[in-house]
């Protein structure tokens, strides 16, 4: 432990604790801009500077460890003046269009300027006129707004190991750009959107498609569409943050009513199609594992989950040799999209061409996924017309004047609304695995587990492992989240395969974002591990409260198979609920 003083207040912290963190312990808030809790300090902005007794320099609180006996001053007139000058300098290179900016009122620079009482622009305005990158249809990169804090680069390279964005140029010409200065869509970007979730200003943000949805909702007469919407598991535990609620507040039924008030005709829940995914993917796993156990098709082990579109993109670019190991099951969103325009359209006697299908997702990559390949048009139409992120939904609710917090609760529509606890935990890392194991056990043994909780695969550690025994056979599973953690898992698989050894795991779940979808790139800003924990707690409480906790117990799942899909893995299921993969180059020529 280290004993020191901050503004004269004694503080005791573990060795290695930064001055920034130590100050928070004694209720001193040091302003910061480039620093983010998820990332190693990049130390670029110069806002968090503090004085340390007997040191003529000012030190950066974000990356300076508190040392024994240190006496730190965090606020005095000189420090405040220097900070304010730095903010004014940054503002001198930043456009003044706050009112039109997608980050208006959620911008960290704007907040700082307000806190410091910046009332004038003492320095020459030095703006650049750089082109905006709209190539991905998921994310917009506006380098003019960039304050070069480096967060997105660190996120993309260190946290996600994607290397799609990079600093280019030097000095004042330094800019954030897609690697190799191609367009984002032509490079390695997997659209996970973590850059946008970490950007403190409006330099990288989701493609806003709320207007398309408003248009569809408002159309009448000949052009009128039946608007059908689905919401993803992770949305319900995070949306409340946009309305002043604590992270992890479960708002499922209020969201259903809000969606109806927005004008949606039918409200389904992606949790239902998550249950459907489990049936398809669980069956796929059982088939592969049984083959494997009897010595057949050994190369198809392990099975790797495919519900995360950013992960699909990453795999196709970086690990295409693993394509045979990928589950062919579509993501829950795409399964729902396909079912809406086939099964439900038929049932509700609506022309699929007249259906406008919207998905509310915690994710920016889902926008890309909805047009990924021809399998996403399995109904003959585009299965999911528009994907909105949690952030976009929040804006629509606010625009419509809906008091979300106090809204009466409603139920989703039948038959693709009711879900089990297994469907809801898809939203957290380890959830797909846990849900799959709950049903796989049943599919093999025709018996239900006594305890359905697999706590070993829950939580925020980057790679989690578990073993279960099904009929005396050991099944080894691994769960990885946050793209940067996956390489070590897959390298181990590659090595075992190359050496002709038994694969280390039989089933691997991968989610691109830290914490899984609850930490998705389209979720409300400000996710830290503490926030992720709260959102996860919300997810698991929803699971525990559920009447049914295993996907195969969802009575409506039984109905759709009986009425439409026949059985898991049927020809029809394959046509509508499964997809194909192909190797992608990192850079398009």
């Amino acid at each position: 432990m280290v004993n020191a003083k901050i503004n004269g207040i004694p503080v005791q912290v573990a060795e290695g604790t930064t001055i920034l963190d130590a100050a928070e312990k004694v209720n001193v808030r040091i302003p910061k801009l480039c620093y983010n809790d998820d990332l190693p300090a990049w130390a670029a902005c110069g806002i968090c500077i503090v004085k340390v007794e007997r040191n003529p320099k000012m030190l950066r609180a974000c990356c300076t460890p508190l040392e024994e006996g240190m006496s730190v001053i965090t606020h005095d007139p000189e420090i405040v003046q220097v900070r304010k000058t730095v903010i004014e300098l940054i503002l001198s290179t930043h456009p003044d269009d706050c009112l039109q900016c997608p980050r208006n009122q959620s911008c960290e620079l704007q907040t700082l300027a307000s806190e410091f009482g910046v009332r004038e622009q003492p320095f020459e305005k030095r703006l650049r006129d750089l082109p905006i990158d709209t190539s991905t249809k998921s994310l917009i990169l506006n380098p003019d707004k960039c304050i070069r804090c480096g967060r997105c680069v660190t996120v993309c390279q260190q946290m996600q190991n994607v290397w799609a964005i990079e600093f280019l140029g030097r000095g004042e010409s330094t800019r954030i750009a897609p690697a190799a200065d191609v367009s984002l869509a032509d490079g390695p970007c997997i659209k996970c959107g973590q850059c946008s979730a970490h950007c403190p200003v409006g330099a990288i943000y989701e493609l806003d498609q709320t207007k398309e949805v408003w248009d569809a909702l408002m159309k009448g007469g000949e052009e009128a569409k039946t608007c059908v919407v689905q919401i993803a598991p992770a949305v319900r535990v995070a949306l409340g943050e946009e309305f002043g609620l604590k992270p992890g507040t479960v708002l499922t039924k209020k969201i259903y009513s809000a969606l109806r008030r927005l004008g949606f005709d039918t409200v389904f829940d992606t949790n239902f199609s998550a249950d459907l995914t489990i049936l398809e993917e669980g069956t796929e796993f059982v088939k592969r594992f049984t083959d494997f156990a009897s010595g057949n098709n050994k190369e198809l082990m392990p099975l790797i989950t495919s519900c995360c579109p950013a992960w699909v993109d990453y795999m196709e670019k970086y690990y295409a040799d693993m394509i045979p190991n990928f589950s062919t099951a579509k993501s829950p969103m795409q399964m729902m999209g396909s079912m809406i325009k086939t099964y439900w359209a038929e049932k509700a006697k609506v022309d699929p061409k007249k259906i406008f299908s919207v998905a509310i997702m915690p994710c920016t990559a889902k926008k890309w996924e909805s047009g990924r390949n021809k399998d996403m048009f399995s109904s003959g139409e585009r299965d999911v017309d528009v994907v909105l992120t949690t952030r976009e939904l929040a804006r629509m609710i606010k625009q419509a004047g809906i008091d979300l917090v106090n809204l009466p609760e409603e139920e989703a529509d039948s038959p693709m609304g009711p879900y089990t606890g297994a469907g809801t935990i898809f939203g957290a890392t380890g959830g797909v695995m846990e849900a799959a194991l709950r049903s796989a056990y049943y599919l093999v043994t025709k018996e239900d587990l006594k305890d359905v909780n697999f706590t070993g695969v829950r939580g925020l550690s980057g790679i989690k492992e578990a073993r279960i025994h099904i009929k005396g056979i050991e099944v080894r599973v691994a769960v990885a989240h946050q793209m940067g953690n996956i390489a070590s898992v897959l390298e181990e698989v590659r090595k075992a395969k190359a050496d002709g050894k038994d694969v280390p795991w039989h089933f691997i779940e991968v989610m691109a974002c830290r914490g899984g979808c609850i930490g998705g790139g389209g979720q409300p800003y400000g996710a830290t591990d503490a926030v992720r924990q709260q959102r996860m707690a919300g997810i698991y409480s929803d699971d525990e409260k559920s009447t049914y906790r295993c996907s195969h117990h969802n009575p409506f799942i039984g109905t759709v198979y009986k009425e439409f899909l026949e059985q898991p893995g049927s020809h029809k299921a394959h046509q509508l609920l499964h997809t194909h993969y192909r190797k992608l180059e990192l850079y398009n020529k």
């Binding site: 300090a41 130390a43 670029a44 902005c45 110069g46 806002i47 500077i49 320099k57 000012m58 950066r60 990356c63 300076t64 460890p65 000189e78 003046q81 220097v82 900070r83 000058t85 730095v86 300098l89 940054i90 001198s92 290179t93 003492p122 320095f123 020459e124 030095r126 304050i147 070069r148 480096g150 600093f167 140029g169 030097r170 000095g171 004042e172 010409s173 330094t174």
Partner: protein, 595 residues
């Protein structure tokens, strides 16, 4: 075979650009042609330091010191001196004040110098390891490997008082000791040869003239801290230095002074060269290490310091060329000897690249504590053309300007810092009355604008904003409040920039605003530049009294804005004048006025 004469030809970059290579070959060819090739050995050495008068050729044993030699002089040097034994007096150096052609020992340029770092420069052939060995080279590594424990080396360095010559003057022994006491499976030793200050070439000359002094020192450090691998990071713009390093490394390996089991001991050490692409910031140690690792050359925060966590996260000792070159001598001659040289806090010598408005520009090495007056007037021979001294810039773009009143202050790390400047790597640029401090500040800030890596906002934006204000001043568009803005940004950069480059970039401006405030005010309020440097503020006119109407000015004017005749005299149309100054230079009757 014993030679009767040795002819040393400077092989430093400066002299080579003035055809020293041709002189070298001409001397050999003439010696052969005149049948005296067995009497004389022609040697290409490192820099003599007296670059003002290059190319330099020195003949031994007569100690004849020839300056500004041309290839065509080679024939005469051989025929007169080698064949007939007569000095070529017309080539001997002529001192500005003594007015005589004199020999080396009488040259004031060398009299106050004390050469430790440059001990072999201009004496040995840097491409021949034997010549280095003949002058006690590699005796230090032998001493260290055979009779000293690592802690003895650190103790010796500590006693010597050697401080880093690259900038801030951090005690060298402490870096070594940090690295030595950090446990790691791999450690590194790095030589910073990424010299980038405008006008500075101390490190280049040292490497060109005595590459083995650096190689030997790095090996000593490797032994001391327990490192087996070294890197020399040198800018690609120094091809001759790189070539000599490559030769040096090859020869050292051939002699078993690098590689496995050095001098038959268990100690293994080798060095690789890494080329920098000319980014000034890569001279900052953390950015340099990033660059070696293959990353973008951008500084990272310290702590952790490189000595504890450096290259690839391993303990790394990084010193600059001049620091390294001191080490072998400290080991062979002892800390007691070394620590007698210099001041209380700054031991040893310092090499300066003396340039600007000075008679003897060149490379000079003086004991710490020498005054600026001694360097400028005794060694440098005073200000060129008898002009008035205005100031001297030390520390390059990171330093400040030192004015007349401080000329007698003994120079060391502390005294320079107290004046708002710094030792830096050793650039020393002398300015006279024709230099404008505002323009000089603008020049240095422009350098920082170009060289800012762009990582931290105070430097990336601050340099540009300060530069923009300084440009306004030089154009007479500044306002009084802009001075406050300059100081405000300057303070923010000093305090909040990430690395030394950004923290010190405001120094030239802030130090001149402080010491030459009146001159800034003249630019802002009166729109005048007393040095006549800021063109926008100049007005050229013709003094009708002095003008004889010859019309030379009108003929020289490139934009034809001067008109008149013999009777009416001449007039300059200020609206068309581009202020090139050709008329001013041309007029023999001081009739063209510049204000």
């Amino acid at each position: 075979m014993a030679y009767k004469h040795f002819i040393l030809v400077c092989g430093g970059t400066g002299c080579v650009s003035s055809r020293a290579d041709e002189i070298y070959h001409e001397l050999i060819a003439n010696a052969e042609a005149m049948g005296v090739k067995n009497d004389v050995q022609v040697v290409k050495t490192g820099c003599f330091g007296f670059c003002e008068k290059g190319p330099i050729v020195k003949v031994l044993p007569s100690e004849s010191f020839y300056v500004e030699v041309k290839p065509s002089d080679a024939k005469e040097i051989i025929s007169e001196q080698i064949v007939k034994g007569r000095e070529v007096t017309r080539l001997l150096y002529k001192d500005v004040r003594q007015k005589d052609r004199i020999k080396l020992e009488d040259i004031q340029f060398y009299q106050k110098q004390y050469r430790i770092v440059l001990r072999n420069c201009g004496i040995i052939n840097p491409e021949n390891i034997d010549e280095y060995i003949a002058r006690d080279g590699y005796a230090a590594i032998e001493k260290v490997l055979t009779s000293m424990k690592p802690e003895d080396v650190v103790a010796e360095l500590k006693a010597s008082g050697l401080r880093g010559r690259g900038g801030a003057g951090f005690p060298t022994w402490r870096k070594w000791d940090f690295s030595k006491s950090t446990v790691a499976d791999q450690k590194y030793v790095v030589c910073n040869a990424d010299e980038g200050d405008p006008g500075a070439y101390m490190d280049r000359s040292t490497v060109e003239g005595d590459p083995h002094s650096v190689i030997e020192a790095m090996a000593i450090c490797g032994y001391t801290v327990g490192a087996t691998k070294g890197f020399i990071y040198i800018r690609a713009e120094y091809p001759l230095a790189i070539e000599r390093l490559k030769i040096g490394l090859r020869q050292a390996r051939e002699y078993g002074l690098l590689g496995d089991n050095i001098l038959g001991t268990d100690f293994c050490f080798d060095i690789e060269i890494r080329l920098g692409a000319g980014a000034f910031v890569c001279g900052e140690e953390t950015a340099l290490l990033q660059s070696i690792e293959g990353n973008r050359g951008m500084p990272v925060p310290r702590p952790p310091f490189p000595a504890i966590k450096g290259l690839w996260g391993k303990p790394t000792v990084i010193n600059n060329v001049e620091t390294w070159a001191n080490i072998p001598v400290i080991i062979t001659k002892g800390a007691a000897w070394f620590s007698k040289i210099g001041t209380e806090t700054s031991k040893g010598t310092k090499v300066f690249a003396l340039t600007g408005k000075i008679n003897n520009s060149g490379l000079v090495e003086v004991p710490m504590g020498t005054t600026l007056r001694e360097i400028i007037y005794d060694i440098g021979g005073g200000i060129r053309d008898g002009k008035k001294f205005k100031g001297a810039q030390t520390g390059g773009p990171s330093g400040g300007i030192i004015t007349e009143e401080f000329l007698d202050l003994p120079i060391d790390y502390e005294s320079l810092t107290s004046l708002g400047s710094m030792m830096g790597s050793g650039g020393l640029i002398v300015m006279d009355e024709d230099d404008c401090v505002v323009d000089v500040s603008r020049f240095y800030m422009e350098f920082c604008v170009d060289e800012s890596c762009g990582k931290c906002s105070p430097c990336r934006i601050g340099t540009n904003q300060m530069h923009s204000l300084l440009v306004k001043f030089t154009k007479g568009q500044g306002k009084l409040e802009d001075l406050e803005k300059l100081e405000k940004i300057g303070l923010a950069m000093k305090k909040a920039a990430l690395c030394g480059l950004g923290q010190t970039a405001p120094n030239p401006t802030l130090s001149t605003v402080k010491r030459f405030r009146a001159e800034y005010l003249e630019h802002i309020v009166d729109h005048t530049c007393r040095a006549g440097k800021c063109k926008s503020l100049l007005l050229f006119s013709v003094d009708k009294v002095n003008c004889i109407g010859c019309g030379l000015c009108a003929r020289k004017c490139p934009v034809n804005c001067i008109s008149g005749d013999k009777t009416l005299k001449f007039t300059i149309d200020a609206s068309k004048c581009i202020k090139c100054g050709e008329c001013f230079k041309a007029c023999k009757f001081s009739a063209v006025l510049k204000k």
